[in-house]
């Protein structure tokens, strides 16, 4: 047991840090209803006008559509490749296994700007390809793969090979073991990995900036492009508030299907 002085101090500190974490998010939501066009504080009145303005913003909808397409494609690629890599590393012994574990996590350890510039140099200077949705998807799939890999591999390590060995001893084929033993135990981790991969792709801006070219906009690129335009501020505020409110969906989903909220994003 820690003494009371430490318990009281850490409790007070915790309250302050939680306020620090949530006050800015609360402000975003409040400002979406602030009738002042400059969003001066305190709010001058309550209005829903910005919401109908945002609803009729065609640029926003197009960018949102692109974001969803990129997120779904990148997540699909990442799910297949990340899960395969996790099985290879956790269920086989081979030369260079450690090196592969390291290689796979590189894309999230290195900053987005390095990855972005590297992909940009490859696509434009080396390959002469045109930047567009496809290059964005390739870039996103690379770091999404890591997320899926991490989740799947952690689950496989925790499960251990015993049940799979038992299944094989009882005469199941590799496919049957995968279908009826391994996959059902892995499902939560794979779903959590997919949710996280989609969320990361949906929110990504740096790699996207360097791989999307001038014609394709995802939602973050669109927001960033309009952030400094005063006449777009009301629409940006509404989109910002919506994104903040929908952030509870993945939290709820991964708690429901993935278990353990603490380990899903870190």
């Amino acid at each position: 047991m820690l003494p009371d002085s430490i318990r009281r101090l850490t409790r007070a500190w915790t309250v302050l840090v939680i306020i620090f974490l949530y006050a800015p998010l609360l402000l975003v939501v409040v400002n979406a209803f602030n009738s002042s066009k400059t969003f001066a504080f305190p709010p001058s009145g309550f209005t829903l006008r910005w919401w109908s303005d945002a609803w009729s913003s065609s640029g926003m909808w197009r960018a949102l559509g692109n974001s969803v397409v990129v997120g779904l494609c990148a997540t699909a690629i990442a799910l297949v490749l990340g899960t395969m890599a996790a099985f290879a590393v956790q269920r086989h012994r081979f030369f260079g296994r450690q090196a592969i574990s390291f290689l796979v996590v590189l894309p999230i350890t290195l900053p987005g700007i390095v990855t972005g510039i590297a992909l940009n140099a490859t696509f434009t200077s080396a390959l002469g390809a045109t930047l567009g949705l496809a290059t964005v998807i390739i870039g996103h799939a690379t770091f999404c793969m890591v997320i899926v890999f991490n989740n799947a591999q952690a689950r496989l390590r925790r499960l251990g090979p015993r049940l799979e060995d038992a299944s094989a001893d009882l005469g199941a084929s590799n496919w049957q073991t995968f279908r009826f033993v391994t996959f059902p135990m892995m499902r939560g981790a794979i779903v959590a990995g997919a949710i996280l991969a989609f969320a990361l792709s949906f929110d990504e801006i740096v790699v996207t900036t360097f791989t999307s070219g001038p014609t394709v906009q995802t939602l973050p690129i669109w927001i960033f492009g309009n952030l400094f335009r005063p006449n777009q501020a009301p629409v940006i505020n509404v989109v910002a508030a919506t994104l903040t409110l929908v952030a509870v969906i993945p939290v709820w989903l991964s708690q429901r299907f993935g278990g353990d909220p603490a380990t899903t994003r870190a």
């Binding site: 409790r11 080396a126 360097f210």
Partner: protein, 283 residues
């Protein structure tokens, strides 16, 4: 018969390994390592001064410029300074919070706090940076409540980056505190140590790898950032802004590549330094 069966089993196991490993590995090697290789090589290319087209002949000019140019050096020092400041503030904010979560709070409060700390990670990065732009603006809530705001600049950049990366520090530190056995704390106090002495001499060494692990995130995420500083930094320039400017505004891809080697090597250096603390097993 038995040996034949075993070797065919072995063969099949190798085959399934190849099937599992080759596609993801090919993707990572071709797309990712290939790109990093292109990045390294293109840092040695140059651009035609008339057309701006990339010229694929090797020259060390970009590297020399990156190492000697005063503007680049100032931006590098500023960026490293910001990354270290953000890391230190995150540690200060996270350690007491993580201690409370792991060793003081009831299980129910602990779970609520874990959710409370991780939920902001799902909110959009841009929205969070934008929230600080609203918060710190001249007519914003901070000026209204406190009558003072630091405005947009270096302080705002450090504050915003701290806000963005704080959960990445809290989670590994919390995990490290949670692994400290309760018996150890009791033993320390039975032997006459005060709470603060226990904290300093028993818990700190055990929690340090968690802090180091968190610092990898806060440091490297700050090193590469250029979006938050564009939103709240006013005229402040970090390395990322300069790299972006060289690529997009100046259209000098080789120089941008050479500049991006600075955060790359700074982070690899930081990772190697932190590896000694056992932080990498805690990431």
């Amino acid at each position: 018969m038995i040996t034949a069966g075993r070797s065919s089993h072995r063969f099949r196991s190798r085959l399934s390994l190849a099937f599992l490993l080759i596609p993801p590995l090919a993707w990572l090697i071709v797309v990712y390592l290939g790109s990093l290789a292109v990045l390294l090589v293109s840092a040695l290319w140059s651009t035609n001064s008339f057309t701006g087209a990339v010229v694929r002949t090797f020259t060390g000019d970009n590297i020399v410029r990156v190492l000697t140019d005063a503007v680049f050096r100032a931006a590098t020092l500023r960026t490293v300074g910001i990354a270290l400041a953000v890391t230190l503030i995150c540690i200060t904010l996270a350690v007491p919070l993580a201690l409370y979560m792991a060793k003081v709070a009831s299980p129910r409060v602990r779970l609520a706090l874990v959710v409370a700390v991780t939920t902001p990670l799902w909110a959009s990065y841009l929205v969070k940076a934008y929230a600080w732009r609203m918060l710190l603006s001249g007519q914003g809530p901070l000026a209204w409540v406190a009558g003072y705001t630091p405005g947009y600049g270096l302080v705002a950049t450090v504050l915003t980056l701290t806000y963005l990366w704080l959960p990445y520090m809290v989670i590994p530190v919390f995990a490290a505190f949670e692994r400290v056995p309760e018996d150890l704390i009791d033993a320390s106090s039975d032997l006459g140590a005060s709470g603060w002495t226990t904290l300093r001499t028993v818990m700190t060494p055990l929690v340090f790898p968690g802090i180091a692990a968190g610092s990898i995130f806060t440091f490297s995420l700050s090193m590469g950032d250029y979006i938050a500083v564009t939103i709240v930094g006013g005229k402040t320039q970090m390395l990322g802004n300069i790299i972006y400017g060289q690529l997009v505004t100046a259209n000098n891809q080789p120089l941008a590549a050479a500049l991006s080697l600075i955060p790359l090597f700074a982070i690899i250096g930081y990772l190697l330094a932190m590896r000694r603390t056992g932080a990498l097993e805690n990431v």
